[in-house]
Amino acid sequence: MVSRSRSLFDRSILFPAIRESFVKLNPRVQLRNPVMFIVEVGALVSIFYAFRDVRNGQASFDIAISAWLWFTVLFANFAEAMAEGRGKAQAEYLRRTKTDTIARRLVDGREERVPATQLRRGDRVVAEVNDLIATDGEIVEGAATVDESAITGESAPVIREAGGDRSSVTGGTRVLSDRIVYVVSANPGESFLDRMISLVEGAQRQKTPNEIALSILLAGLTIIFVIAVATLAPFSIYAGATPSVVVLIALLVCLIPTTIGGLLSAIGIAGMDRVLQRNVLAMSGRAVEAAGDVDTLLLDKTGTITLGNRQATEIIFAPGADETIVYRSAYFASLADETPEGRSIVTLSLSKGAGDGSTVLPAGAVVVPFSAYTRMSGVDYTDGSQLRKGAPDAVRAWVSQNGGGKTDVLAAEVDRIARAGGTPLLLADRGRILGCIGLRDILKPNTRVRFDRLRAMGIRTVMITGDNPLTASAIAREAGVDDFLAEATPETKMTLIKREQGEGRLVAMTGDGTNDAPALAQADVGVAMNSGTQAAKEAGNMIDLDSDPTKLIEIVEVGKQLLMTRGSLTTFSIANDVAKYFAILPAMFVAAYPAMDALNIMRLNPHSAILSAIIFNALIIVALIPLALRGVPYRPRGAEAVLRENVLIYGLGGIIVPFIGIKAIDLILGVLHLTGAS
């Protein structure tokens, strides 16, 4: 999309985010996040105590604590605002595309110019060269090249035409050639562009299931710590110490999971944003989260595993056939064949010297296009001779019909090619079989490596293809997928998805055609290609603006990274508590029990220890913002390896880091003589 390469702390995001951090101090905003709400309440109460403590000289301590509590809330707000910032910038750009488009509406055959906002579903609209498409629709007349860069960021124009799978047009795109008539399919406010704006802006963002579960855990932990800290008041009265409310607030804020609490929503927004940066539009955060859980990937063979279409890789001559004649025949028989397969035969035969004579059809020769009925194509010459190429059984039948000789010529070759997963074609003139052409799928580079990576992540790959089982299994073996579905139809695809889901697996797939729509809707993660039909786009829960089916793999990785980031920062946040106990408790009770100093294992200054812990608690949020926005480093590996590494870094690290951090802050405070009261 437009701002793909924005750096993490782009100035245009940074400054609005700082402003937004203050706006978000509104308690009603904070209430959505119980952990940070408690910090804010604590900050307010501390100010109150600062006024009360003016006389006894404790006010400066209260103010310092309160200030750092405010910073804690601000830092958390800032993280969220930063995460939202990119989306907002993108939405701003999209909104500019949307303004004041004038549409040419057809009413009873007459054309009238109306603002796009007045278009309703079912209206017919004309668009010609240089017209902006006013809103989403289906082409009912004509074909045109369309510049969709405003939506997809891809500058190469695409062809859109009535009928078939490429009939949809999107509001905000521009017609570059020809004239089309389209029927409006979305009312104002419901168009793709509108949805896109609200999605990137996060206006409709709802908490995802896992985020809700985690929030419940954090709220539960917060309650536990509120109890643990609140009861310290009577406990210290028993001990003969006077509990300071501000100190108790400081302890509470240190213990409740503020780090993850402050970063949780930023992590979620950033996860969606990372999907967006890959030019995929996720309809909900739930879909991104589900992507991390995917167990089975259904991958279309064409475009995902193999490079587009099959290509001719060999031409074999029948015994006794003349080499040059075979090449020339292959060339002429395919000359009129506009399919990629046909083109590849032309290219191959030319490279073998088919063009040494003439590359132009003799005058009067008539090309016979491929038909599903004959399953052959070819050329009829004026002298009555004919050339045909096509499916082996069709060609054999044609040869024997025409009284030709042996039809079992090259049978072994045909079998060999088919067994290897290729498509064999026979080439014949009226009387005899001339040769055999082998078409093969060309695998995309690194497919095997990709699938090995997925397997390491515990994801099963299933190749979907219309090929026969023999061909399919050969390609599946070569590509290294785990399973395949041959002779796939929309129905068999649907059955496969339901079977996988019935066994408890989550399924992801891509699709673009209208007949893919039911399967896209059934799959847990359905990625529709932007080039596809409106029906497909509405059925899926993600739209790939680049229409690149391999993207599915990246989406899964983003989903996993999102969950990993949440888990890692939660672990880190909880592990931090150990050090904070040792920082605050001795400082709190050293007056009542001087012996408590033995617990001061960091040897902190008792006057600044509490402040040091609070400062660490606030600064760690800032320090972790880049991690929250980028996600924890991710490499595709098995769960065991990932867990071991993350437990070491965020679990053990979470225990150790605050010991060092709090001590360092305490030393700095000491140097600056900011050790609080007395």
């Binding site: 985690l214 012996a595 769960a639 990932v642």
Partner: protein, 566 residues
């Protein structure tokens, strides 16, 4: 610390390890209604009970009827005991002619036994008639343990079933737990105890003349039968006040061994039963491994603290470990071991005075309870306790592998987290809040015998014990209305407020279908899971109590080192 001391612990633990598999496998068969070697004798009895109570053993329950049955059964049992204690003077089998219990003490005691706590604000030998002991307290000793086991089994069904709407039949589970598990072991065990010298009679107390010429009354009664279920059912309520420290309840080293093994037998064996249910023994062994680690660490610390002794006593020229409040026939190691085991499990029987332990030695039993008593734990309650910790562990750590966390193929989502955290809230809320009130309330402080941090430890220990349904006491507290009533409330919530979310959890898990494990699944059978589980138990569970403990045993220890005592 001595080699013999360590050997005592090793023998107990080795015996438990040997018994875990046969007992665990036996329970798995019993609760699935399969034939076991006792079936020829017990099956007709079981059928008779069902016919008498009009129970259809084939009819399973959803979680709501199951929970309702547990609560209703507990309530009725509670009322029965309450009434019995209030009228025992008018009933037979009361050779000493003990009077009726006061309402607040009867409330506290009835709740205490109904909840498997067996906190005792009375001395058994001077309060309870034999009928109250046997038909009242004894009944609860069996059924409260049986109810705990039943819920553990229901949870195992929840974890192992797929897309199921039921988790078993409470009445059937309870009947089988008592009939097939608790009764047979209790019969054999009580015979062993009688052989070791524990009384079993209906005689009145014997009055003897001591060497000094004073008259002493020696209690009698049906002790052995009560004693064995006290340990096996992790009840802990002694027939006599001195509990397992008395020569009647626990006369020899061998009886001590039997009692120790019985305390953790069921809690340990249930992990094996769990492995059977989920068809993966490793899942059970990892829980056993986490329990073992915490047990060994706790014993080591308690034994070390007691063996090191009290610096103040050392300063007086008396070398050696702390023997105050310990029975000489058990010594330091067996006393530290008993204290560790009785608080690891939710038993509460004692063979020494925990109040007289060194500050750190006393911290260990308190800390064990504050962890939620999940180290083997109470019958059933230990298992379901460690499962909600396991669910929290899986949720927090499982996210780190980049998937919605799963435990045994069940996705841990909103509802499961909600119920697990609800259960985890109970111990801190119902231990710390009343302890906070008691430590400033005149009525709470009125009957406190010790001052300073040690007095505070006594308060904290009392509520930690009651909320976890342990029942052991630091002593130093005398009952008054505040303690009786608040203690009853705490024990009640400590039991019911955990049970209900756990049963709901069983229902929620049973309804889920299982996700097949892949290379991307967080495995819960690896050593790293054991480490994480222990981490969550310590940080989420016990660390909550760290500030309070710091003001009790920890600061007391630090002050002891400086020569101050309380």
């Amino acid at each position: 610390m001595t080699v013999v001391g360590w050997l005592q612990a090793a023998v107990v633990f080795a015996l438990v390890c040997l018994l875990v598999k046969p007992v665990g496998a036996y329970m798995a068969r019993v609760f699935e209604g399969e034939r076991v070697f006792l079936s020829p004798v017990l099956a007709p009895v079981e059928r008779g009970i069902y016919r008498l109570c009009r129970i259809d053993p084939a009819r399973e329950m959803g979680w709501k009827p199951y929970a309702f049955s547990v609560v209703a059964f507990s309530l009725v049992s509670f009322l029965y005991l309450y009434v019995l204690l209030r009228v025992q003077a008018f009933l037979p089998l009361n050779p000493q002619g003990f009077g009726n219990l006061a309402p607040d003490l009867a409330w506290n005691t009835a709740i205490s036994f109904m909840t498997n706590t067996n906190w005792q604000f009375y001395s058994g030998e001077s309060t309870m008639s034999y009928l109250s002991q046997m038909a009242g307290l004894g009944w609860h000793n069996f059924v409260s343990a049986g109810a705990g086991i039943a819920i553990a089994i229901a949870l195992m069904r929840g974890l192992s079933r797929r897309s199921a709407s039921t988790i078993g039949n409470f009445w059937v589970d309870l009947t089988r737990a008592v009939l097939y598990v608790l009764l047979p072991i209790a019969v054999v065990g009580s015979l062993l105890l009688i052989w070791q010298g524990v009384p079993q009679n209906f005689s009145g107390y014997t009055t003897v003349k001591t060497l000094e010429g004073a008259a002493q009354s020696i209690p009698q009664g049906p002790m052995a039968s009560q004693e064995i279920i006290k340990e096996l059912g992790t009840n802990g309520g002694g027939f006599v006040n001195a509990n397992s420290a008395s020569t009647w309840e626990n006369p020899t080293g061998f009886s001590n061994l039997i009692e120790l093994v019985c305390i953790i037998l069921i809690g340990g064996a249930l992990t094996y039963t769990f492995g059977r249910y989920v068809k993966d023994q490793r899942q059970g062994w990892v829980l056993f491994a986490a329990m073992t680690t915490l047990f060994v660490a706790g014993f080591t610390a308690a034994y070390a603290a007691e063996a090191a002794g009290n610096p103040i006593v050392h300063a007086l020229g008396v070398a050696g470990g702390n023997l105050e409040g310990k029975e000489a026939r058990f010594g330091i190691a067996a006393s530290a071991l008993f204290a560790t085991i009785t608080t690891d499990a939710s038993c509460g029987a004692v063979n020494a005075m925990h109040d007289s332990f060194t500050a750190l030695g006393g911290l260990i039993p308190m800390f064990n309870m504050q962890m939620g008593e999940v180290v083997f734990g109470g019958d059933g309650s230990g298992f379901y306790g460690i499962i909600y910790y396991a669910i929290l562990t899986v949720f927090i750590a499982g996210l780190m592998v980049g998937r919605t966390p799963e435990y045994l193929g069940k996705k841990i989502e909103r509802r499961e987290v909600q119920l697990a955290i609800l259960a985890a809230l109970v111990v801190p809320v119902f231990a710390l809040v009343p302890a906070g009130i008691a430590s400033v309330l005149p009525a709470g402080l009125a009957t406190l015998n010790n001052a300073g941090p040690h007095g505070f430890s006594e308060i904290l220990y009392a509520y930690s014990s009651m909320v976890n349904n342990n029942g052991s006491a630091f002593a130093g507290l005398s009952p008054n209305t505040w303690w009786n009533v608040s203690g009853g409330v705490v024990m009640l919530f400590g039991r019911i407020a955990i049970m209900i979310p756990v049963i709901a959890l069983a229902g929620a898990l049973a309804a889920k279908r299982a996700v097949p494990a892949t290379a991307g699944t967080f495995t819960t059978t690896s050593p790293i899971f054991v480490v994480l589980l222990i981490g969550v138990i310590l940080i989420v569970g016990a660390l909550t109590f760290f500030p309070a403990d710091a003001l009790g045993p920890i600061v007391e220890h630090l002050l002891n080192q400086q020569g101050k005592q309380f």
